[in-house]
């Protein structure tokens, strides 16, 4: 059998290093491209602190859902019920913070409510072996019914409340890194190449932060640490890769899956808290509005790894921020970037001698560029959905390179192995 190993590469000590460099290079490349785009098109909002701030605000709930999805799927349970769990989170946050008057209890309430949703999913999928998608869909149907019923019961008699919404909720204090806002703000105003862009980026990320935003950002490295650097994380991931093997080594697979799915629900719940208490100031029916599903897309885009998952949420948040703030103009400008990106891809594919793929990329790229040059703005109706179109495009170009946990979505029965 020694001969079968000949082809395997040398031990991958440089692997992590490489990956980190790649993240930096890709991130930096995108940033530079955006700066160029700003210069060419004159859409200053492309790198403004406002856009960055809005990106963060839009990315946090999606990122929390995505991170939640990642936790769950790393343990082998597909969680399409994130949408419902976020809904529980929004309501839980409203309930707890309104009746206590304390925003922090609202955070707790949202986490608990989301976790309860997760628990329900865990009971159905882990204990009863229900198909994961089926259970998730059921939870997504359950959540709006339950929250609306409870709102009708608990919020209608409160001032400003109703069956579809809570009264105004107490808010979290916001926080800025001291001494950053002013100087960066003035730097940004000059529209100097790079300097102003960087100032916008930093200022957007460092000022007027709510604790939930900070928590959300923090949870990315924390998730990474817990899942990849602790025994608990190793056990949890092993359940998503090969639960039979994990069980044979004494890992309590059910317990791990339960923990993962409940954590997943809690993370989705935090996303809900953000929506109800930070992004707005009350619980509102339909507030989640598909963000749980988009989180799932961000998770897939991020290849089930925290850094990239956060990147996926960021991409979605950025496109959404751009379309909401800049509207048709800025998104129109993005066409140029997409066109050039596709051309580059075509060249690379040509270089790799994948002729057909190169031709297809070229044709699409030319189409996009022609579209860019022949029009001044995109139809408003379509621009609204540019984040979704972006997600679809990104997945279409990246899906084959992804690797989901090997036992993701599989039903697992205790003692069911060979």
């Amino acid at each position: 059998m020694i001969e079968q190993e000949i082809r395997t590469p040398a031990p991958d000590t440089g692997d992590r290093e490489r990956r980190r460099t790649r993240v930096l290079v890709v991130g930096g490349g995108i940033f530079v491209a955006l700066i160029l785009l700003r210069l060419i098109t004159g859409e200053s909002d492309i790198t403004s602190s406002g856009t960055m701030g809005a990106t963060l605000a839009l990315a946090v709930p999606i990122g929390m859902a995505a991170l939640g999805g990642m936790w769950s799927e790393r343990s082998g349970v597909i969680n399409i019920g994130l949408e419902g769990m976020m809904t529980f989170g929004t309501w839980g946050a409203a309930f707890a913070s309104y009746f206590s008057g304390n925003p922090w209890l609202g955070l707790l309430g949202g986490i608990v409510a989301g976790a309860v949703g997760g628990l329900l999913h865990a009971v159905a999928t882990v204990t009863f072996g229900v198909d994961h998608i089926v259970s998730g869909v059921a939870i997504n149907i359950l959540a709006p019914g339950v929250t609306r019923y409870l709102s009708d019961l608990l919020f209608t008699d409160e001032k400003g409340g109703g069956a579809t919404q809570s009264p105004p909720l107490p808010s979290f204090p916001t926080w800025s890194v001291p001494g950053v806002g002013k100087p960066l703000g003035s730097l940004e105003k000059h529209h100097w190449i790079l300097v102003s862009d960087l100032a916008g980026l930093v200022r957007g990320v460092l000022t007027d932060l709510s604790p939930i935003t900070l928590l959300g950002i923090l949870l990315v490295p924390v998730s990474y640490y817990l899942l990849w650097r602790t025994a608990f994380g190793l056990r949890l991931r092993s359940c998503g890769e090969n639960p039979v093997a994990a069980e044979s080594l004494g890992v309590k697979v059910y317990r791990m899956k339960y923990s993962a799915v409940v954590i997943s629900g809690a993370l989705a719940g935090i996303g809900g808290v953000f929506l109800a208490m930070v992004a707005s100031s009350n619980y509102q029916e339909g507030q989640v509005n598909g963000r749980g599903y988009i989180g799932l897309a961000a998770m897939i885009f991020g290849n089930w790894r925290p850094g990239m998952v956060a990147g996926g949420a960021g991409l979605f948040g950025y496109t959404d921020a751009l379309q909401l703030r800049g509207g048709a103009g800025a998104v129109h400008a993005m066409l140029l970037l997409i066109g050039i990106g596709l051309l580059a891809l075509a060249v690379w594919r040509g270089y790799r001698r994948r002729v057909l793929a190169a031709v297809i990329s070229t044709v699409v790229a030319v189409g996009v560029l022609v579209w860019f040059f022949l029009t001044d703005a995109l139809p408003r109706e379509i621009v609204t959905y540019s984040p979704h179109i972006t997600t679809l495009l990104v997945l279409a170009f990246a899906a084959q390179r992804l690797r989901m946990p090997a036992a993701d979505g599989m039903r697992y029965r205790r003692g069911g192995g060979h």
């Binding site: 109703g162 919404q165 507030q287």
Partner: protein, 327 residues
């Protein structure tokens, strides 16, 4: 809804000897608590209950329901002896068109629609463009940057009317003013009326790009815009009801004014006229002229002396010298 037991579910066809009215009201999707015209209709109903001491019943719609559901809802009210019955929103047009002929003795009213030609249907219509014109003028007066914003919840013909009036009013004061316009969602996606997060992001974007007054005609999403205004310490204009009243103490100073669409008045007056026997058939138009449309002056510090200008414009509209555009 309280924990009441059963009230009358069925009843005589309104033929009790006593002429005591039972008032029925059917909401548009969103229902009570939408801080918009459903809420305004509810306010009217409460007034009916309090001042006229009448029995009232209000029913809510479900998202994505069909006309048949609406027909049943209206019939449930009519059949159970509720008279008059008010349908809130143009979505009831088709349904009411079918129900009204079956209950010729019941008086119906519908808000925001004029397509039903039945003797027992009163159309409650509003000249939103007039009020929007005034707040547009207020925005232009207040603006120091010459840059203001308009946020529409959903890009429907109704909301476009608000936009048209607002832009015209602002241009009247400052012909060179820049108006940023953005809608949150597109029909048939009505989530734009209830997405405060996006209302906030958009308003932030507008303030970031130089606007110092933003008018949000976006239902609940407007609450997000008000938050953005407060954070940016810039001006906000509310819609439908007086949003200064519902704003928090921190937010109040930034509410410049609100465009008032008096659905409450309309509902109340309609019910009252049914009681009086003076009910008006066909179109009843609410405008600046009959106080069905107005702007609020609950934040006099903010408005300062511009009220004179606004009242002057108001008179010109009432007298027909100015006709704010609908499109």
């Amino acid at each position: 809804a309280g924990c009441g037991g059963k009230k009358a579910t069925t009843g005589g066809g309104g033929g009790d000897g006593k002429k005591s009215l039972k008032v029925g009201l059917a909401y548009d999707v969103g229902g009570r608590g939408d801080k918009s015209f459903n809420d305004a209709a509810y306010a009217g109903l409460q007034k009916v209950q309090k001042e006229l001491k009448l029995d009232v019943k209000d029913l809510e719609a479900k998202e994505g329901e069909s006309d048949n559901d609406k027909i049943q809802r209206l019939e449930l009210l009519a059949k159970s002896g509720y008279n008059p019955v008010v349908a809130v929103g143009f979505v009831y047009a088709t349904a009411l068109g079918k129900v009204a002929p079956k209950y010729p003795n019941t008086k119906f009213a519908i808000v925001d629609d004029d397509t039903i030609q039945q003797p027992n249907v009163t159309d409650l219509l509003f000249a939103e463009q007039e009020g929007s014109y005034l707040v547009g003028a207020a925005a232009a007066k207040k603006s120091q940057t010459g840059n203001i914003g308009f946020i529409g919840g959903v890009q429907t013909p109704l909301i476009k009317k608000f936009e048209a009036g607002y832009v015209a009013g602002a241009k009247k004061i400052n012909p060179k003013i820049k108006v940023q316009i953005k809608y949150i969602s597109q029909p048939p996606d009505f989530s734009g009326f209830k997405d405060p997060a996006k209302g906030k992001t958009i308003a932030q974007g507008m303030y970031d790009q130089g606007a110092d007054v933003v008018y949000a005609s976006a239902g609940l999403s407007g609450t997000g815009s008000l938050e953005a205004a407060t954070a940016a310490k810039k001006w906000f204009i509310g819609v439908d009801s007086d949003q200064w009243q519902t704003a928090s103490a921190a937010e109040k100073p930034y509410v410049l004014t609100s465009m008032l669409k008096r659905v409450d008045t309309a509902v109340f007056n309609f019910v009252k006229s049914v009681g009086d026997g003076t009910v008006q058939k066909g179109d009843v138009r609410f405008s600046l002229k009959n106080d069905g449309i107005d702007y609020s002056t609950s934040n006099p510090q903010a408005l300062g002396d511009m009220t004179t200008t606004l009242n002057d414009l108001k008179q010109q509209i009432i007298s027909g010298k100015i006709t704010p555009p609908e499109k």
